[in-house]
């Protein structure tokens, strides 16, 4: 059960971040050509993989299990609760519906304003893609490092990233520009709930808590945070008139 939950959380969270990275690649690729965009994206992914391979084992080696659990939980909570906050605000109409499509437009406009390469490599386009993909990739790396650091969860976490990579690459080829079609806000809110639930589970174990029915704990925590997010969104919708 926990294998499946970790796999789903890793796929969803990594998928959302990779989708934003894809938006940057598409934005730059459509205005400046796909060659520098793909090279920039690939260079950023390799950089993130190297960082993860170096930092992952170093962080885990010799550390006290309780401290590792608190660090893992804290990292997951930082991402999860921020996504939860933004998701609740967006679903209730209190915040603009930002999405990968906006990342796409931003990257397209930035790369269009750069001076054209007169010959050789287009370093401007390479730089914009590298920067964008590196930032999103580091987020993926941190989430996966946190999810996969618990005993027995490295395989589903890495598998989740693989599935997300395949899905997002497929989506990129199928959709190209119209990223607006994806229900990204709802997916991101759900992933915020999942990461917050996992973060609470790990962090609480790190400070001595023994969850009742430990195998089911991530599920009832998911239900608890989903209910809290739903209630908060409902309350915000009702409190003041929304300006969509």
């Amino acid at each position: 059960m926990n294998f499946l939950l970790t796999l789903t959380a890793a796929t969803g969270a990594a998928g959302i971040e990779l989708l934003e990275a894809l938006a940057v690649v598409l934005g730059v690729g459509l205005t400046r050509g796909f060659r520098p965009a793909l090279w920039g994206g690939l260079a950023a992914l390799v950089s993130v993989a190297v960082l993860g391979a170096v930092l992952g084992p170093a962080l885990r080696a010799g550390a006290d299990l309780g401290v590792v659990r608190v660090l893992i939980g804290g990292a997951l909570l930082l991402f999860g609760m921020e996504w939860l906050r933004k998701g609740v605000l967006r679903v209730s109409g209190r915040r603009r519906r930002g999405s990968s499509y906006h990342e796409f437009v931003e990257a397209r406009d930035t790369s269009a304003s750069l001076p054209r390469a007169t010959g050789g490599r287009d370093w401007g386009a390479f730089g914009v893609t590298f920067n964008g993909v590196l930032l999103e990739g580091i987020e993926v790396g941190l989430i996966v490092l946190a999810l996969g650091s618990a005993p027995g969860r490295a395989v589903p976490a890495l598998l989740g990233v693989g599935v997300a990579l395949v899905l997002v690459t497929g989506t990129g080829f199928a959709l190209r520009a119209p990223l607006q079609r994806l229900p990204e806000i709802q997916i991101k809110l759900a992933m915020g709930v999942a990461l917050t639930a996992f973060g609470t589970y790990f962090a609480a174990q790190g400070v001595g808590v023994r969850w009742p029915a430990p195998e089911l704990a991530p599920i009832y925590l998911l239900a608890l945070f989903a209910a809290a997010a739903w209630l908060a969104a409902r309350r915000l919708e009702q409190s003041i008139p929304a300006a969509r």
């Binding site: 605000l89 209190r94 915040r95 609470t200 808590v209 925590l221 003041i240």
Partner: protein, 77 residues
């Protein structure tokens, strides 16, 4: 790049990282002070409640900022 990365990791508001820090610190203190069996059984739900309170507080802060800044757009990105 570093400032964008810091914002991506810590988020847009300080209320969430501070709330998480306070919650986990309170958990560590409670773990050392409260009777073991009591904390082991109920501590997780106390921490979850504190995190939900952090979420509600961060939403309230967001709405209050919008209300007290009429010259700024009501909606943010």
């Amino acid at each position: 790049v570093l400032s964008i990365l810091g914002r991506k990791i810590l988020g847009e508001t300080r209320t969430i990282p501070v709330g998480i820090g306070v919650t986990l610190s309170a958990g560590a203190i409670a773990n050392s002070l409260l009777p073991g069996a009591y904390w082991r059984a109920w501590g997780g739900f106390v921490l979850a409640a504190m995190l939900i309170a952090t979420l509600v507080f961060s939403l309230t802060v967001h709405l209050n900022r919008r209300r007290t800044a009429p010259d700024r757009p009501y909606l943010t990105r």
